[in-house]
Homo-oligomer: 109 residues x 2
Amino acid sequence: MADLLDREVAQRYASWFRALADPSRVQIVAYLARQARPMAVGEIVAAVGLAQSTVSQHLKILAEVRFVLAEPVGNARHYRINDNCITCFPSAADVVMGKPAPAVAEVCS
Amino acid sequence: MADLLDREVAQRYASWFRALADPSRVQIVAYLARQARPMAVGEIVAAVGLAQSTVSQHLKILAEVRFVLAEPVGNARHYRINDNCITCFPSAADVVMGKPAPAVAEVCS
DNA sequence: GACTTCCATCGCCGATCGGCGATTAACGAT
DNA sequence: ATCGTTAATCGCCGATCGGCGATGGAAGTC
């Protein structure tokens, strides 16, 4: 029981993985990660081909774990990838798979 | 729409993330990844402190995506981490976060 | 054979999920 | 003030999840 991953850490990582537990959300995050500029919701809707309300709900889930960040632009809202997650999320995957924690970065703010 | 991640790839990755979308399963995988030898179900039950049926169900989910492998040993069943996942799962996290696919390893058999 | 041990499976429960259409709210333009 | 436009929220649905106790089956022990 000594080398059992701390429950709070496990819970945080699980919340990250749960945010990507849906193929549409995986596509949205990967899509935003590949864009140079922040994208409006309508553009994401066009890209993934789901209803606007559905995409909005997915974006809310992704924003709650701060995988994506939003900024209001006039009438619209632009979403972009959170650069901190680009490094800290894969490192979480490393930790789960047994590699020693790579220094800091545990919390991607 | 061009740089939208392929749906099938997104689905496979989502199934991996969904397998770790629960803190108990994160603990189980991390636990097995840190063990030198395969562990019996009873040992895992003792480590995580859940009912035996619950742990067995979690192990089934983890085995379905081949994060863990099982081998019968006499009366018992020993579970161990799938070494292929140690590299291929974090690389999936990299792909989602926009890093170019690191060569092969896409499928951790 | 009878008995124990180990684990998978079943059935049940409340809770959460993923999808959608409809509505509401905020903003820009006229 | 009245329109469009954009996006968040609401309410509903069926489906899945996570937990448990109980049952069942396979392998070891006596």
